[in-house]
């Protein structure tokens, strides 16, 4: 008898023979049925079949033999005796068909009550030794196992498990032997086949698990030691990895919890090429799964073995016994134990600290030489980002209760540190529900942030290396004579403009790390304020100073981080002022606290100014002015004056770009106009005179003009309702109409002296608008802005506009052709207060507008002329409309 050449043919044969078997049985021709069975089984002798193909045939044959078995059982002992048949099938010519038939008959016999069970089982097991070819032997023994599954004697656990173990040991040997068959070059093919066949060996452990059920003692004392002995002795990697996995999978959780030592011990005895990590990870996954299962099943009386302790001892032993393990392997292993602890004892930070300590020690053993490809493991260990069940509270404790964590973090390279800290800060920023109770805790957090604080920013380095920037980089030191000049020599100013534009770009491109750090500083300080330990204002101030001193280590970075400290000083000052008003007898105390805090702010801004250089001038200037405003609001006039003076110093010594100068001056005027505490000792007077003077000395005439007319408001205080002031009720507003008029006159002179007609006209219209403001807000005798003055100005504007139009017509006739298409899409232009033109969309509903640079090529003279003309028309229209409300407007001639 021989087997088919192809799988398809073999399948056909098996199908046909199985039908023939069924027919023979239907006709009660048992001998024929056995013969057809034998032909069918011959297909299983084919040495060319791959494991999966063999399995396919096996499944079909199994079904056919089931039919045979049923027949044999139903007709025993009426038509035949199974004992006889058991002898009979031994005469089959080939060993494979013989043994399959023998097992079929033998197991059918087992169903009969009078069968000599033990003898049959023993004999079948013995006979299977006749097949030593791995694949055929494995399937034959699998057949034995499947057939006997439901027939092993009841209540004979020891005997049954012995039967299965014996079969398992033999199968394992066959399976391991397969690796060494055939030529060496087919090694990989063998390994692949073995991995496919593994299920047959593994199924024996499933059977064992079913047989011993929940008998832990038996498992622990008899079964597990034997299985592990087999695994250890075979020295085979595929076998060891697979069977260890299967042990974890098929035996119940309680067994593992009680045999952890043994299991872990075993991994130390295995082939050293094996991936210990894989084994341990399987075991840990299983144990973690156990927690989930007991939660789902609501079992409360579970045994919580101190699994961490067992694994911890194991780690230390492994560390001693396996110096060959690389840092990556070792750290990954520790990570697995970390994973275990986080699931089992999420609140045990002592364990965590131990783990991080061990990692640090390991890093030191390897001189902190961490391979690039292992970095992600470290990142996982440091951020624990894979454990989504950990909340911010956990991370909070991690930072303050695990010193080893922080020291491990600080020994990493800067990229890794930054990445890890960022992840951590993200957690804290999104959920700020923690409270900091001690300075030690605070220091832990600041230490955590140290790498971010001290981080060298690329930009900062670039600035240092750029020599062109040094002139604007000089510190705020009164003895350094400034060498920059305001004179508009084209070359110099162009270069300066370029530099300052770069600086602006720098400032706009935030460093995300510093931004996050600043956010975190707020969260951190808030969590200090929540604590009862730091209830006293003094202690809060002290904490803020500690934070400031840490940030100071960041050098130029303080330009990003100091504002978060300064704003908190503002906050403390306001708080102190509230207390001061509430508790009059402690007024001197709080007054002192407030003054101290203003000094600290001053320290901060001085440090920013000295360290950060030109790029932070604008920021320092604004912070100083805001602080001045705060001091004024709390009626600390002298302090406010002091801060204003500081602002002037920066303005005079360091702001060189004319656009910036103009803007900063306007900013200063806005703040000054709303101050109320500077009137004594003429502080206010001297400050506003000084700013107006600066305004009149700006580089560009249009800036001069605008700055001065805006400064005119400094002599015309308006109500601040939150202070209880009210127009018409409050008597003592700081107002000086004469000076207002002087300012307007001064700016009109500037406007008039501008050579560019369009500009000049536009500015005059703007001044006209100012005049109308004062006309509305005061009587003529107060403001000194009279009807005559306004009418005169309108006359002047009209005359100027007329000559402007003449010029335009002349120009238009020259450029008619060129201009034509533009008339179709004519947009309205207006002039912004910074001198830029703003193009307003055609459609009034559509508010999109574009800012155009004065040098823009999109601007044409013909369009520009429209700017003052339209502006003047709007103003006149306003005057006419105003007549309905205010009859004084009748006298204005438009």
């Amino acid at each position: 008898m021989s087997y088919s050449d192809s799988l398809d043919q073999a399948i056909t044969t098996v199908k046909q023979q199985s039908i023939l078997v069924q027919r023979s049985l239907a006709q009660r021709k048992l001998m024929d049925a056995l013969r057809y069975s034998s032909i069918m089984l011959t297909e299983l002798r084919n040495p060319k079949l791959l494991p999966k193909q063999y399995y396919e045939l096996y499944i079909m044959i199994y079904d056919a033999l089931t039919v045979l078995s049923n027949y044999l059982f139903e007709n025993h002992p009426k038509k035949h005796h199974l004992a006889d048949l058991y002898e009979l099938v031994q005469y089959a010519g080939n060993v494979i068909p013989r043994l399959y038939l023998m097992i079929t008959v033998g197991t059918t016999y087992l169903k009969c009550p009078d069968a000599p069970t033990n003898e049959i089982l023993k004999d079948m097991l013995e006979m299977c030794r006749g097949v030593q070819n791995p694949i055929r032997g494995l399937f034959l023994r699998y057949y034995l196992s499947q057939r006997t599954k439901e027939l092993l004697p009841e209540n004979e656990v020891a005997l049954n498990s012995q039967f299965i173990i014996t079969n398992f040991i033999e199968m394992n040997k066959l399976w391991v032997r397969l690796q060494h068959q055939g030529p060496l070059r087919e090694r990989e093919q063998r390994t692949k086949e073995r991995k496919e066949l593994q299920i047959l060996v593994g199924s024996q452990l499933v059977r064992l698990s079913q047989v011993i059920d929940d008998n832990l003692t038996m498992y622990k004392d008899q079964i597990l030691p034997i299985i592990l002995e087999q695994i250890v002795q075979c020295r085979d990697i595929v076998c060891q990895e697979y069977l260890f996995d299967i042990i974890c999978q098929v035996f119940p959780d309680e067994f593992h919890l009680n045999t952890l030592d043994t299991l872990l011990e075993t991994t130390l005895l295995l082939n050293t090429d094996i991936s210990v990590n894989k084994l341990i990870s399987t075991l840990v996954e299983r144990l973690n799964g156990y927690l989930k299962r007991i939660e789902q099943q609501e079992i409360t009386n579970q045994s919580k073995v101190d699994v961490f302790d067992v694994f911890w001892n194991y780690l230390n032993k492994l560390n001693e016994e396996r110096p060959d393990l690389s840092i990556s392997q070792m750290v990954s292993l520790i990570e697995i134990v970390l994973n275990l602890n986080l699931h089992w004892f999420p609140n045990n930070f002592e364990n965590l600290n131990k783990v991080y300590e061990l990692i640090s020690t390991k890093c030191n053993d390897f001189d902190n030489n961490i391979p690039k490809e292992t970095e992600f493991v470290f990142l996982n260990i440091l951020t624990l980002q894979n454990f989504d069940f950990l909340d911010s509270n956990f991370y909070f404790k991690l930072v303050i209760e695990c010193p080893a964590y922080s020291s491990l973090l600080s020994s990493q390279n800067s990229n890794l540190q930054t990445a890890a800290i960022n992840k951590l800060l993200d957690v804290f920023i999104t959920a700020d529900n923690f409270v900091i109770d001690s300075k030690t805790q605070l220091e832990s957090f600041l230490k955590l942030c140290e790498p971010l604080i001290k981080m060298k920013l690329k930009r900062a380095l670039a600035n240092e290396s750029s020599p062109t920037n040094q002139s604007s980089n000089h510190p705020m030191d009164p003895f350094v004579v400034k060498n920059s000049t305001n004179v508009g020599q084209s070359g110099v100013s162009e270069e300066k403009q370029k530099i300052s534009r770069e600086n602006i770009d720098d400032l706009l491109s935030f460093d995300p790390n510093q931004e996050k750090l600043s956010k975190f500083i707020h969260i951190l300080f808030n969590s200090v304020l929540k604590s009862t330990t730091f209830k006293k204002l003094e202690s809060q101030v002290e904490i803020l100073l500690i934070i400031k001193n840490w940030l100071y280590k960041g050098g130029k970075n303080i330009t990003f981080t100091y504002p978060s400290v300064i704003t908190n000083f503002w906050r403390l000052i306001r708080k102190a002022s509230l207390f001061m008003n509430k508790i009059p007898k402690k007024k001197p105390y709080y007054e002192n606290v407030i003054k101290q805090n203003f000094k600290y702010i001053s320290r901060c801004t001085t440090e920013m100014f000295n360290i950060c250089g030109a790029q932070s001038n604008d920021q320092v200037f604004k912070i100083i002015l805001q602080t001045a405003s705060l001091a004024d609001q709390l009626e600390f006039g002298e302090i406010a004056y002091d801060f204003f003076s500081q602002a002037f110093t920066i303005f005079e010594e360091c702001l060189t770009d004319s656009t910036t100068q103009f803007q900063e001056l306007i900013y200063m005027a806005q703040i000054l106009q709303r101050t109320r505490s500077l009137y004594k000792e003429d502080y206010y007077d001297s400050l506003i005179v000084r700013s107006t003077l600066h305004g009149s000395k700006l580089l560009k005439k249009q800036d001069q003009c605008r700055a001065v007319y805006l400064c005119s408001h400094l002599w015309w205080a308006t109500e601040i309702s939150s202070l209880g002031e009210e127009e018409g009720v409050t008597e003592d507003f700081f107002r000086d109409g004469k000076r207002v008029l002087e300012c307007l006159q001064r700016s009109l002179r500037s406007a008039d002296s501008i050579m560019d007609n369009v500009q000049s006209c536009e500015l005059m219209v703007e001044i006209l608008n100012r005049c109308l403001y004062y006309f509305i807000h005061g009587e003529e005798y107060e403001t000194h802005v009279t009807v005559n003055y306004i009418n005169g100005l309108i006359e002047l504007i009209k005359t100027n506009l007329k000559s402007l139009k003449l010029g335009e017509e002349a120009q238009l006739s020259e450029l008619r052709i060129d201009d034509n298409p533009r008339n179709v899409t004519k947009n309205t232009l207006v002039n912004g207060s910074d001198g830029n033109y703003v193009q307003i969309g055609d459609n009034n509903m559509n508010t999109t507008s574009t800012v155009l640079n004065p040098q823009s090529k999109l601007l044409r003279v013909s369009d520009l002329i429209q700017v003052p003309i339209q502006h003047f028309h709007r103003t006149c229209k306003y005057i006419v409309n105003q007549r309905d409300i205010d009859p004084r407007f009748e006298t204005i001639v438009v």
């Binding site: 008898m1 096996y58 089931t66 496919e196 299920i199 499933v206 098929v250 099943q297 079992i299």
Partner: protein
């Protein structure tokens, strides 16, 4: 000839890991339940003698399978010849419910059944004993799915508390038997034509 022969009904249970396939099988076959969790590797079956429609007896082969693919290293040849396929999900596990369709498709791809559109499936939503708040799959969405897959019978079961397991398997047995009958008839017709050619040649050549 088949009047005497005892029919073997092959039933395959499929579903994600941990939905309770093994437990359902044990509950049905042995009326036992164990809290212990053991992963199933490979595939194996238990048999149960059953009475269908009062008079007929059959042997039901209930195949329990591994939900994890890595435990099916020899492939799924055992799908072949199945008479019914049981798709199980866990009412507290959305993923297991969403995978029902892919388990069905996977079965049809590998089982090589003669007419896929009429092949009997049964869906079981297991673990309904678990408290209401933990359930994530509504009866409605389960019914919708069963309907969309071709009016598949749906049972909500608990292997742990023995709820609805027997009725479910009665339905499974009925559809399996029906399928078995259809297949057997078709196979007979097929086979009668093809068989005689080889039979004559081989009948005497056998030596065993």
């Amino acid at each position: 000839m088949s009047s005497k022969k005892k029919t073997i009904l092959k039933v395959i249970i499929l579903g994600d890991s941990g939905v309770g396939k093994t437990s359902l099988m044990h509950r049905y076959v042995n009326d036992k339940y164990s809290q212990q969790y053991k992963a199933t590797i490979g595939a194996d079956f238990l048999t149960k003698e059953i009475n269908v429609d009062g008079d007929r007896t059959a042997t039901m082969q209930v195949w329990d399978t591994a939900g994890q693919e890595r435990f099916q290293s020899l492939g799924v040849a055992f799908y072949r010849g199945a008479d019914c396929c049981v798709l199980v999900y866990d009412v507290t596990n959305t993923k297991s419910f969403e995978n029902i369709k892919s388990w069905r498709d996977e079965f049809l791809v590998h089982a090589n059944v003669s007419s896929p559109e009429s092949f009997p499936f049964v869906i079981l939503g297991n673990k309904i004993d678990i408290e209401e708040t933990k359930k994530v799959i509504s009866v409605k969405s389960a019914q919708d799915l069963a309907k969309s897959l071709g009016n598949i019978p749906l049972f909500l079961t608990s292997a742990k508390s023995s709820i609805n397991v027997d009725p479910a398997f009665e339905e499974i047995a009925r559809s399996a038997l029906q399928q078995n009958q259809n297949d057997a008839d078709a196979f007979e017709e097929d086979f009668n034509d093809a068989i005689n050619i080889q039979l004559d040649g081989e009948a005497d050549s056998c030596a065993c």
